[in-house]
Subunit: 259 residues, 2 copies
Protein backbone atom coordinates (compact mmCIF):
# COMPACT_ATOMS: atom_id res chain seq x y z
CA UNK A 1 0.00 0.00 0.00
CA UNK A 2 1.07 3.56 -0.59
CA UNK A 3 0.06 4.30 2.97
CA UNK A 4 -0.49 1.60 5.51
CA UNK A 5 -3.06 3.73 7.26
CA UNK A 6 -6.60 4.24 5.97
CA UNK A 7 -7.08 7.68 4.40
CA UNK A 8 -10.11 9.48 5.78
CA UNK A 9 -9.38 13.15 5.15
CA UNK A 10 -10.40 15.13 2.10
CA UNK A 11 -7.30 17.23 2.71
CA UNK A 12 -5.04 14.34 1.75
CA UNK A 13 -2.88 15.62 -1.17
CA UNK A 14 -3.90 12.78 -3.52
CA UNK A 15 -7.58 13.33 -2.77
CA UNK A 16 -7.17 17.03 -3.41
CA UNK A 17 -5.39 16.28 -6.68
CA UNK A 18 -8.18 13.87 -7.75
CA UNK A 19 -10.78 16.56 -7.18
CA UNK A 20 -8.83 19.20 -9.06
CA UNK A 21 -8.28 16.88 -12.01
CA UNK A 22 -11.95 16.01 -12.20
CA UNK A 23 -13.03 19.64 -12.18
CA UNK A 24 -10.45 21.51 -14.19
CA UNK A 25 -9.15 21.10 -17.72
CA UNK A 26 -6.27 23.38 -16.79
CA UNK A 27 -5.25 21.07 -13.93
CA UNK A 28 -5.38 18.08 -16.29
CA UNK A 29 -3.15 19.82 -18.84
CA UNK A 30 -0.66 21.04 -16.23
CA UNK A 31 -0.30 17.68 -14.50
CA UNK A 32 -0.76 15.56 -17.63
CA UNK A 33 -3.19 13.45 -15.62
CA UNK A 34 -6.90 12.61 -15.71
CA UNK A 35 -9.33 10.69 -13.50
CA UNK A 36 -11.52 7.61 -13.81
CA UNK A 37 -14.35 6.30 -11.67
CA UNK A 38 -15.95 2.85 -11.64
CA UNK A 39 -14.87 -0.76 -11.15
CA UNK A 40 -15.34 -1.79 -14.76
CA UNK A 41 -13.21 1.04 -16.07
CA UNK A 42 -10.49 0.97 -13.41
CA UNK A 43 -10.06 -2.82 -13.36
CA UNK A 44 -9.86 -3.26 -17.14
CA UNK A 45 -6.56 -4.70 -18.28
CA UNK A 46 -6.15 -1.94 -20.85
CA UNK A 47 -6.44 0.63 -18.06
CA UNK A 48 -3.78 -0.69 -15.65
CA UNK A 49 -0.68 0.53 -17.52
CA UNK A 50 -1.89 4.13 -17.36
CA UNK A 51 -2.83 4.15 -13.68
CA UNK A 52 -0.63 6.30 -11.48
CA UNK A 53 -2.74 5.85 -8.36
CA UNK A 54 -5.73 3.64 -7.65
CA UNK A 55 -7.90 5.17 -4.93
CA UNK A 56 -10.22 2.56 -3.50
CA UNK A 57 -12.51 2.26 -0.50
CA UNK A 58 -11.80 -0.42 2.08
CA UNK A 59 -15.01 -2.25 1.17
CA UNK A 60 -14.27 -2.20 -2.56
CA UNK A 61 -10.68 -3.31 -1.97
CA UNK A 62 -11.71 -6.33 0.06
CA UNK A 63 -14.36 -7.28 -2.48
CA UNK A 64 -12.14 -6.95 -5.56
CA UNK A 65 -8.67 -7.83 -4.26
CA UNK A 66 -8.00 -10.48 -6.93
CA UNK A 67 -9.02 -8.20 -9.78
CA UNK A 68 -6.45 -5.53 -8.91
CA UNK A 69 -3.46 -6.40 -11.05
CA UNK A 70 -1.37 -3.44 -9.99
CA UNK A 71 1.56 -3.01 -7.64
CA UNK A 72 0.82 -2.15 -4.00
CA UNK A 73 2.63 1.17 -4.08
CA UNK A 74 0.07 2.45 -6.58
CA UNK A 75 -2.91 1.67 -4.33
CA UNK A 76 -4.38 4.05 -1.76
CA UNK A 77 -7.15 2.79 0.50
CA UNK A 78 -9.71 5.28 1.73
CA UNK A 79 -12.69 5.14 4.07
CA UNK A 80 -16.12 4.41 2.55
CA UNK A 81 -17.23 7.81 3.77
CA UNK A 82 -14.50 9.60 1.85
CA UNK A 83 -15.39 7.47 -1.20
CA UNK A 84 -18.94 8.79 -1.10
CA UNK A 85 -17.65 12.34 -0.97
CA UNK A 86 -15.29 11.80 -3.89
CA UNK A 87 -17.88 10.21 -6.13
CA UNK A 88 -19.67 11.76 -9.08
CA UNK A 89 -22.51 9.22 -8.83
CA UNK A 90 -25.24 8.46 -6.31
CA UNK A 91 -24.24 4.86 -5.63
CA UNK A 92 -20.49 4.80 -5.91
CA UNK A 93 -18.57 1.56 -6.34
CA UNK A 94 -15.74 3.19 -4.42
CA UNK A 95 -13.15 2.72 -7.17
CA UNK A 96 -11.24 5.70 -8.55
CA UNK A 97 -8.00 6.20 -10.45
CA UNK A 98 -5.61 8.92 -11.40
CA UNK A 99 -4.19 8.09 -14.83
CA UNK A 100 -1.47 9.51 -17.04
CA UNK A 101 -2.50 11.19 -20.27
CA UNK A 102 -0.62 9.26 -22.95
CA UNK A 103 2.17 11.08 -24.79
CA UNK A 104 0.94 13.19 -27.69
CA UNK A 105 1.28 11.66 -31.15
CA UNK A 106 2.32 13.92 -34.04
CA UNK A 107 -0.52 14.44 -36.49
CA UNK A 108 1.72 13.19 -39.30
CA UNK A 109 2.24 9.90 -37.43
CA UNK A 110 -1.41 9.62 -36.45
CA UNK A 111 -2.91 9.88 -39.94
CA UNK A 112 -2.02 6.79 -41.98
CA UNK A 113 -2.55 6.23 -45.70
CA UNK A 114 -5.74 4.21 -46.23
CA UNK A 115 -7.00 4.85 -42.68
CA UNK A 116 -10.61 5.55 -41.73
CA UNK A 117 -11.14 8.46 -39.36
CA UNK A 118 -14.05 10.25 -37.79
CA UNK A 119 -13.46 13.95 -37.19
CA UNK A 120 -15.48 15.77 -34.52
CA UNK A 121 -15.51 19.47 -35.30
CA UNK A 122 -16.66 21.74 -32.42
CA UNK A 123 -18.80 19.15 -30.63
CA UNK A 124 -19.50 20.35 -27.12
CA UNK A 125 -21.55 17.66 -25.36
CA UNK A 126 -19.10 15.40 -23.48
CA UNK A 127 -21.56 12.50 -23.43
CA UNK A 128 -21.99 12.67 -27.22
CA UNK A 129 -18.22 12.66 -27.68
CA UNK A 130 -17.80 9.71 -25.30
CA UNK A 131 -20.51 7.69 -27.02
CA UNK A 132 -19.09 8.39 -30.48
CA UNK A 133 -15.63 7.22 -29.33
CA UNK A 134 -17.19 4.03 -27.94
CA UNK A 135 -19.11 3.35 -31.16
CA UNK A 136 -16.07 4.10 -33.35
CA UNK A 137 -14.06 1.59 -31.33
CA UNK A 138 -16.78 -1.07 -31.56
CA UNK A 139 -16.89 -0.64 -35.33
CA UNK A 140 -13.14 -0.78 -35.86
CA UNK A 141 -12.59 2.78 -37.06
CA UNK A 142 -8.88 3.67 -37.09
CA UNK A 143 -9.06 6.85 -35.05
CA UNK A 144 -11.12 9.70 -33.64
CA UNK A 145 -9.87 13.22 -34.33
CA UNK A 146 -11.14 16.12 -32.20
CA UNK A 147 -10.98 19.70 -33.48
CA UNK A 148 -12.22 22.44 -31.16
CA UNK A 149 -14.29 20.07 -29.01
CA UNK A 150 -14.59 19.99 -25.24
CA UNK A 151 -11.59 18.40 -23.47
CA UNK A 152 -11.09 14.73 -24.39
CA UNK A 153 -10.15 13.98 -20.78
CA UNK A 154 -13.28 15.54 -19.30
CA UNK A 155 -14.61 12.87 -16.86
CA UNK A 156 -17.96 12.75 -18.70
CA UNK A 157 -16.26 12.01 -22.01
CA UNK A 158 -14.16 9.31 -20.35
CA UNK A 159 -17.19 7.71 -18.71
CA UNK A 160 -19.13 7.72 -22.00
CA UNK A 161 -16.32 5.89 -23.79
CA UNK A 162 -16.75 2.91 -21.43
CA UNK A 163 -13.04 2.16 -21.69
CA UNK A 164 -12.71 2.73 -25.43
CA UNK A 165 -10.49 5.73 -24.65
CA UNK A 166 -7.77 3.16 -23.85
CA UNK A 167 -8.31 1.14 -27.02
CA UNK A 168 -8.89 3.48 -29.95
CA UNK A 169 -6.44 6.12 -31.22
CA UNK A 170 -7.48 9.68 -30.50
CA UNK A 171 -5.91 13.05 -31.18
CA UNK A 172 -6.80 16.69 -30.60
CA UNK A 173 -5.72 19.01 -33.37
CA UNK A 174 -6.49 22.05 -35.48
CA UNK A 175 -8.92 21.56 -38.38
CA UNK A 176 -6.83 23.36 -40.99
CA UNK A 177 -3.70 21.42 -40.08
CA UNK A 178 -5.73 18.23 -40.31
CA UNK A 179 -7.06 19.04 -43.76
CA UNK A 180 -3.49 19.59 -45.04
CA UNK A 181 -2.32 16.31 -43.52
CA UNK A 182 -5.25 14.40 -45.05
CA UNK A 183 -4.34 15.90 -48.42
CA UNK A 184 -0.72 14.73 -48.07
CA UNK A 185 -1.89 11.21 -47.21
CA UNK A 186 -4.42 11.22 -50.10
CA UNK A 187 -7.31 10.59 -47.74
CA UNK A 188 -10.67 11.89 -48.97
CA UNK A 189 -12.42 14.17 -46.50
CA UNK A 190 -16.23 14.13 -46.35
CA UNK A 191 -18.36 16.78 -44.66
CA UNK A 192 -21.61 15.51 -43.11
CA UNK A 193 -24.23 18.16 -43.91
CA UNK A 194 -27.98 18.64 -43.64
CA UNK A 195 -28.73 19.50 -47.26
CA UNK A 196 -31.21 17.58 -49.39
CA UNK A 197 -29.28 18.35 -52.57
CA UNK A 198 -26.03 16.76 -51.32
CA UNK A 199 -24.97 13.23 -52.25
CA UNK A 200 -26.62 10.52 -50.16
CA UNK A 201 -24.53 8.80 -47.49
CA UNK A 202 -25.27 5.39 -49.03
CA UNK A 203 -23.64 6.51 -52.31
CA UNK A 204 -20.35 7.49 -50.67
CA UNK A 205 -17.30 5.36 -51.31
CA UNK A 206 -15.30 5.14 -48.09
CA UNK A 207 -12.88 2.48 -49.30
CA UNK A 208 -9.19 3.38 -49.60
CA UNK A 209 -9.21 5.77 -46.65
CA UNK A 210 -11.59 8.49 -45.53
CA UNK A 211 -12.05 11.17 -42.91
CA UNK A 212 -15.66 12.00 -42.18
CA UNK A 213 -16.26 15.35 -40.48
CA UNK A 214 -19.23 15.89 -38.15
CA UNK A 215 -20.15 19.35 -36.89
CA UNK A 216 -21.52 20.96 -33.76
CA UNK A 217 -24.76 19.61 -32.22
CA UNK A 218 -26.75 22.78 -32.81
CA UNK A 219 -25.14 24.49 -35.77
CA UNK A 220 -23.51 21.76 -37.83
CA UNK A 221 -20.36 22.56 -39.81
CA UNK A 222 -19.52 26.10 -40.85
CA UNK A 223 -19.63 26.89 -44.59
CA UNK A 224 -15.88 27.50 -44.61
CA UNK A 225 -15.14 24.13 -42.97
CA UNK A 226 -17.45 22.37 -45.46
CA UNK A 227 -15.49 23.98 -48.29
CA UNK A 228 -12.21 22.69 -46.90
CA UNK A 229 -13.50 19.12 -47.38
CA UNK A 230 -13.24 17.18 -50.65
CA UNK A 231 -16.85 15.98 -50.66
CA UNK A 232 -20.07 16.38 -48.76
CA UNK A 233 -22.98 14.06 -48.11
CA UNK A 234 -26.26 13.96 -46.24
CA UNK A 235 -28.26 11.28 -44.48
CA UNK A 236 -31.53 11.06 -46.41
CA UNK A 237 -34.50 11.38 -44.11
CA UNK A 238 -38.16 10.63 -44.40
CA UNK A 239 -40.86 13.32 -44.48
CA UNK A 240 -40.60 16.40 -42.36
CA UNK A 241 -37.99 15.47 -39.79
CA UNK A 242 -35.38 18.18 -39.56
CA UNK A 243 -32.41 16.17 -38.41
CA UNK A 244 -31.23 13.35 -36.23
CA UNK A 245 -29.52 14.21 -33.01
CA UNK A 246 -25.71 14.36 -33.27
CA UNK A 247 -25.05 10.99 -31.74
CA UNK A 248 -27.66 9.19 -33.90
CA UNK A 249 -26.19 10.76 -37.04
CA UNK A 250 -22.68 9.78 -35.94
CA UNK A 251 -23.76 6.17 -35.33
CA UNK A 252 -25.22 5.87 -38.83
CA UNK A 253 -22.13 7.43 -40.40
CA UNK A 254 -19.69 5.21 -38.46
CA UNK A 255 -21.73 2.16 -39.40
CA UNK A 256 -21.58 3.05 -43.12
CA UNK A 257 -17.84 3.74 -42.89
CA UNK A 258 -17.23 0.27 -41.49
CA UNK A 259 -19.90 -1.64 -43.40
Amino acid sequence: MKNSELITSKDNPSIKLYRKLSESKKARKENNLFVLEGARLCFDSSTFPTIKLLIITKTAYEKNREKILISDDKIMIISDELGNKLSDTVNTQGVFAICEIPPKTELSDFVKCGGKYIVLNSLQDPLNIGTIIRTADALGIDGVILCGCCDLYNPKVIRGTMGSIFRINTIETNFQALVSELGLKKITSFAAVVDKTAQSLVDCNFSGGCAVVIGNEGNGLSESDIELCNKKFTIRMHGSIESFNASTAATIILWEMSR
Copy 2:
Protein backbone atom coordinates in the same frame (compact mmCIF):
# COMPACT_ATOMS: atom_id res chain seq x y z
CA MET B 1 -59.87 32.27 -23.90
CA LYS B 2 -61.14 29.56 -21.66
CA ASN B 3 -60.97 32.04 -18.83
CA SER B 4 -60.70 35.74 -19.39
CA GLU B 5 -58.76 36.12 -16.16
CA LEU B 6 -55.11 35.16 -15.77
CA ILE B 7 -54.67 31.90 -13.86
CA THR B 8 -52.19 32.21 -11.03
CA SER B 9 -53.15 29.41 -8.63
CA LYS B 10 -51.71 25.93 -8.62
CA ASP B 11 -55.07 24.80 -7.26
CA ASN B 12 -56.79 25.55 -10.55
CA PRO B 13 -58.38 22.24 -11.66
CA SER B 14 -56.62 22.21 -15.06
CA ILE B 15 -53.25 22.86 -13.43
CA LYS B 16 -53.89 20.06 -10.95
CA LEU B 17 -54.86 17.75 -13.82
CA TYR B 18 -51.69 18.67 -15.77
CA ARG B 19 -49.54 17.78 -12.77
CA LYS B 20 -51.30 14.48 -12.18
CA LEU B 21 -50.98 13.51 -15.83
CA SER B 22 -47.28 14.28 -15.87
CA GLU B 23 -46.60 12.21 -12.78
CA SER B 24 -48.89 9.21 -12.99
CA LYS B 25 -49.38 6.53 -15.62
CA LYS B 26 -52.61 5.57 -13.87
CA ALA B 27 -53.95 9.13 -14.25
CA ARG B 28 -53.03 9.09 -17.94
CA LYS B 29 -54.86 5.80 -18.51
CA GLU B 30 -57.94 6.85 -16.53
CA ASN B 31 -58.32 10.21 -18.26
CA ASN B 32 -57.02 9.08 -21.64
CA LEU B 33 -54.85 12.20 -21.66
CA PHE B 34 -51.15 13.03 -21.61
CA VAL B 35 -49.03 16.18 -21.35
CA LEU B 36 -46.55 18.04 -23.52
CA GLU B 37 -44.10 20.81 -22.73
CA GLY B 38 -42.21 23.08 -25.12
CA ALA B 39 -43.00 25.54 -27.91
CA ARG B 40 -41.69 23.37 -30.72
CA LEU B 41 -43.78 20.37 -29.67
CA CYS B 42 -46.96 22.24 -28.72
CA PHE B 43 -47.02 24.52 -31.78
CA ASP B 44 -46.38 21.79 -34.36
CA SER B 45 -49.22 21.41 -36.85
CA SER B 46 -49.35 17.67 -36.21
CA THR B 47 -49.91 18.35 -32.50
CA PHE B 48 -52.85 20.76 -32.70
CA PRO B 49 -55.62 18.24 -33.47
CA THR B 50 -54.83 16.30 -30.29
CA ILE B 51 -54.68 19.31 -27.94
CA LYS B 52 -57.50 19.51 -25.44
CA LEU B 53 -56.04 22.45 -23.55
CA LEU B 54 -53.07 24.68 -24.28
CA ILE B 55 -51.67 26.14 -21.06
CA ILE B 56 -49.44 29.10 -21.82
CA THR B 57 -47.81 31.87 -19.86
CA LYS B 58 -48.80 35.44 -20.62
CA THR B 59 -45.29 36.19 -21.94
CA ALA B 60 -45.23 33.13 -24.21
CA TYR B 61 -48.74 33.88 -25.48
CA GLU B 62 -47.85 37.41 -26.48
CA LYS B 63 -44.65 36.28 -28.16
CA ASN B 64 -46.20 33.41 -30.12
CA ARG B 65 -49.76 34.57 -30.78
CA GLU B 66 -49.63 34.02 -34.56
CA LYS B 67 -48.26 30.49 -34.18
CA ILE B 68 -51.19 29.29 -32.10
CA LEU B 69 -53.60 27.82 -34.65
CA ILE B 70 -56.13 26.64 -32.11
CA SER B 71 -59.53 27.93 -31.00
CA ASP B 72 -59.64 30.37 -28.08
CA ASP B 73 -61.73 28.11 -25.86
CA LYS B 74 -58.82 25.64 -25.77
CA ILE B 75 -56.31 28.19 -24.49
CA MET B 76 -55.66 28.95 -20.83
CA ILE B 77 -53.29 31.79 -19.96
CA ILE B 78 -51.30 31.52 -16.76
CA SER B 79 -48.88 33.76 -14.91
CA ASP B 80 -45.17 33.37 -15.66
CA GLU B 81 -44.67 32.40 -12.02
CA LEU B 82 -47.10 29.50 -12.31
CA GLY B 83 -45.40 28.47 -15.56
CA ASN B 84 -42.10 28.15 -13.74
CA LYS B 85 -43.73 25.95 -11.11
CA LEU B 86 -45.36 23.72 -13.72
CA SER B 87 -42.21 23.17 -15.74
CA ASP B 88 -40.01 20.11 -15.86
CA THR B 89 -37.05 22.14 -17.11
CA VAL B 90 -34.84 24.89 -15.74
CA ASN B 91 -35.59 27.50 -18.38
CA THR B 92 -39.18 26.92 -19.36
CA GLN B 93 -40.62 28.34 -22.57
CA GLY B 94 -43.94 28.56 -20.72
CA VAL B 95 -45.85 26.40 -23.22
CA PHE B 96 -47.73 23.31 -22.04
CA ALA B 97 -50.53 21.17 -23.41
CA ILE B 98 -52.94 18.52 -22.30
CA CYS B 99 -53.52 16.16 -25.24
CA GLU B 100 -55.85 13.29 -25.94
CA ILE B 101 -54.33 9.83 -26.27
CA PRO B 102 -55.43 8.69 -29.74
CA PRO B 103 -57.96 5.85 -29.92
CA LYS B 104 -56.37 2.41 -29.66
CA THR B 105 -55.84 0.57 -32.94
CA GLU B 106 -56.50 -3.17 -33.03
CA LEU B 107 -53.27 -5.13 -33.46
CA SER B 108 -54.76 -6.83 -36.54
CA ASP B 109 -55.32 -3.43 -38.15
CA PHE B 110 -51.94 -2.08 -37.07
CA VAL B 111 -49.77 -4.84 -38.58
CA LYS B 112 -49.91 -4.68 -42.37
CA CYS B 113 -48.59 -7.24 -44.86
CA GLY B 114 -45.18 -6.11 -46.12
CA GLY B 115 -44.75 -3.56 -43.29
CA LYS B 116 -41.49 -2.86 -41.48
CA TYR B 117 -41.75 -2.67 -37.70
CA ILE B 118 -39.40 -2.19 -34.78
CA VAL B 119 -40.48 -4.04 -31.64
CA LEU B 120 -39.23 -2.82 -28.24
CA ASN B 121 -39.41 -5.67 -25.76
CA SER B 122 -39.11 -4.65 -22.08
CA LEU B 123 -37.13 -1.45 -22.65
CA GLN B 124 -37.28 0.69 -19.54
CA ASP B 125 -35.39 3.90 -20.24
CA PRO B 126 -37.92 6.49 -21.43
CA LEU B 127 -35.24 8.56 -23.20
CA ASN B 128 -34.09 5.50 -25.16
CA ILE B 129 -37.65 4.76 -26.20
CA GLY B 130 -38.27 8.36 -27.25
CA THR B 131 -35.06 8.52 -29.28
CA ILE B 132 -35.81 5.22 -31.02
CA ILE B 133 -39.30 6.46 -31.99
CA ARG B 134 -37.73 9.65 -33.38
CA THR B 135 -35.14 7.71 -35.40
CA ALA B 136 -37.74 5.20 -36.68
CA ASP B 137 -39.85 8.11 -37.90
CA ALA B 138 -36.88 9.83 -39.58
CA LEU B 139 -36.04 6.59 -41.41
CA GLY B 140 -39.59 5.89 -42.58
CA ILE B 141 -40.22 2.71 -40.55
CA ASP B 142 -43.95 1.76 -40.65
CA GLY B 143 -44.49 1.48 -36.92
CA VAL B 144 -43.05 1.09 -33.43
CA ILE B 145 -44.49 -1.71 -31.28
CA LEU B 146 -43.96 -1.65 -27.50
CA CYS B 147 -44.22 -4.84 -25.45
CA GLY B 148 -43.75 -4.53 -21.69
CA CYS B 149 -41.94 -1.20 -21.90
CA CYS B 150 -42.41 1.86 -19.74
CA ASP B 151 -45.54 3.90 -20.57
CA LEU B 152 -45.48 5.33 -24.11
CA TYR B 153 -47.08 8.53 -22.81
CA ASN B 154 -44.48 9.10 -20.08
CA PRO B 155 -43.42 12.78 -20.51
CA LYS B 156 -39.75 11.76 -20.98
CA VAL B 157 -40.66 9.41 -23.83
CA ILE B 158 -42.78 12.13 -25.42
CA ARG B 159 -40.01 14.72 -25.13
CA GLY B 160 -37.45 12.29 -26.63
CA THR B 161 -39.63 11.71 -29.70
CA MET B 162 -39.39 15.43 -30.57
CA GLY B 163 -42.87 15.28 -32.10
CA SER B 164 -42.49 11.95 -33.88
CA ILE B 165 -45.10 10.52 -31.50
CA PHE B 166 -47.67 12.41 -33.61
CA ARG B 167 -46.29 11.20 -36.94
CA ILE B 168 -45.36 7.53 -36.66
CA ASN B 169 -47.76 4.68 -35.82
CA THR B 170 -47.24 3.21 -32.37
CA ILE B 171 -48.99 0.46 -30.40
CA GLU B 172 -48.57 -1.18 -27.00
CA THR B 173 -49.31 -4.88 -27.01
CA ASN B 174 -48.42 -8.30 -25.65
CA PHE B 175 -45.42 -10.05 -27.23
CA GLN B 176 -47.10 -13.42 -27.73
CA ALA B 177 -50.14 -11.84 -29.38
CA LEU B 178 -47.79 -9.88 -31.62
CA VAL B 179 -45.88 -12.97 -32.71
CA SER B 180 -49.16 -14.66 -33.73
CA GLU B 181 -50.27 -11.62 -35.69
CA LEU B 182 -46.92 -11.37 -37.49
CA GLY B 183 -47.26 -15.04 -38.43
CA LEU B 184 -50.74 -14.44 -39.90
CA LYS B 185 -49.42 -11.51 -41.94
CA LYS B 186 -46.38 -13.54 -43.08
CA ILE B 187 -43.98 -10.98 -41.62
CA THR B 188 -40.59 -12.40 -40.63
CA SER B 189 -39.62 -11.65 -37.06
CA PHE B 190 -35.93 -11.10 -36.23
CA ALA B 191 -34.47 -11.16 -32.72
CA ALA B 192 -31.50 -8.83 -32.17
CA VAL B 193 -29.04 -10.79 -30.01
CA VAL B 194 -25.49 -10.49 -28.69
CA ASP B 195 -24.11 -13.81 -29.97
CA LYS B 196 -21.06 -14.06 -32.22
CA THR B 197 -22.39 -17.25 -33.85
CA ALA B 198 -25.64 -15.64 -35.02
CA GLN B 199 -26.13 -14.35 -38.56
CA SER B 200 -24.69 -10.89 -39.16
CA LEU B 201 -27.09 -7.96 -39.42
CA VAL B 202 -25.70 -7.05 -42.85
CA ASP B 203 -26.74 -10.47 -44.19
CA CYS B 204 -30.38 -10.11 -43.13
CA ASN B 205 -33.00 -9.64 -45.81
CA PHE B 206 -35.59 -7.19 -44.53
CA SER B 207 -37.45 -6.78 -47.84
CA GLY B 208 -41.05 -7.94 -48.03
CA GLY B 209 -41.87 -7.04 -44.43
CA CYS B 210 -40.06 -7.53 -41.15
CA ALA B 211 -40.41 -7.02 -37.43
CA VAL B 212 -37.12 -6.57 -35.61
CA VAL B 213 -37.22 -7.20 -31.87
CA ILE B 214 -34.86 -5.37 -29.48
CA GLY B 215 -34.58 -6.38 -25.82
CA ASN B 216 -34.04 -4.73 -22.48
CA GLU B 217 -31.07 -2.35 -21.99
CA GLY B 218 -29.33 -4.53 -19.41
CA ASN B 219 -30.46 -8.08 -20.10
CA GLY B 220 -31.33 -8.22 -23.80
CA LEU B 221 -34.08 -10.59 -24.94
CA SER B 222 -35.06 -13.65 -22.91
CA GLU B 223 -34.27 -17.06 -24.41
CA SER B 224 -37.98 -17.84 -24.71
CA ASP B 225 -38.68 -14.59 -26.58
CA ILE B 226 -35.76 -15.25 -28.95
CA GLU B 227 -37.24 -18.67 -29.70
CA LEU B 228 -40.59 -17.12 -30.58
CA CYS B 229 -38.89 -15.23 -33.42
CA ASN B 230 -38.29 -16.67 -36.90
CA LYS B 231 -34.65 -15.59 -37.12
CA LYS B 232 -31.94 -14.00 -35.06
CA PHE B 233 -29.00 -11.76 -35.93
CA THR B 234 -26.19 -9.89 -34.26
CA ILE B 235 -24.31 -6.67 -34.96
CA ARG B 236 -20.71 -7.75 -35.58
CA MET B 237 -18.32 -5.81 -33.41
CA HIS B 238 -14.62 -5.20 -33.41
CA GLY B 239 -12.28 -6.63 -30.78
CA SER B 240 -13.28 -6.87 -27.20
CA ILE B 241 -16.25 -4.53 -26.97
CA GLU B 242 -19.12 -6.25 -25.24
CA SER B 243 -22.04 -4.42 -26.76
CA PHE B 244 -23.33 -1.11 -27.97
CA ASN B 245 -25.74 0.75 -25.77
CA ALA B 246 -29.42 0.07 -26.57
CA SER B 247 -30.01 3.23 -28.49
CA THR B 248 -26.85 2.88 -30.63
CA ALA B 249 -27.81 -0.71 -31.51
CA ALA B 250 -31.35 0.41 -32.36
CA THR B 251 -30.04 3.18 -34.63
CA ILE B 252 -27.88 0.73 -36.60
CA ILE B 253 -30.74 -1.76 -36.90
CA LEU B 254 -33.27 0.87 -38.02
CA TRP B 255 -30.79 2.16 -40.57
CA GLU B 256 -30.26 -1.32 -42.03
CA MET B 257 -34.03 -1.95 -42.13
CA SER B 258 -34.56 1.21 -44.16
CA ARG B 259 -31.40 1.11 -46.26
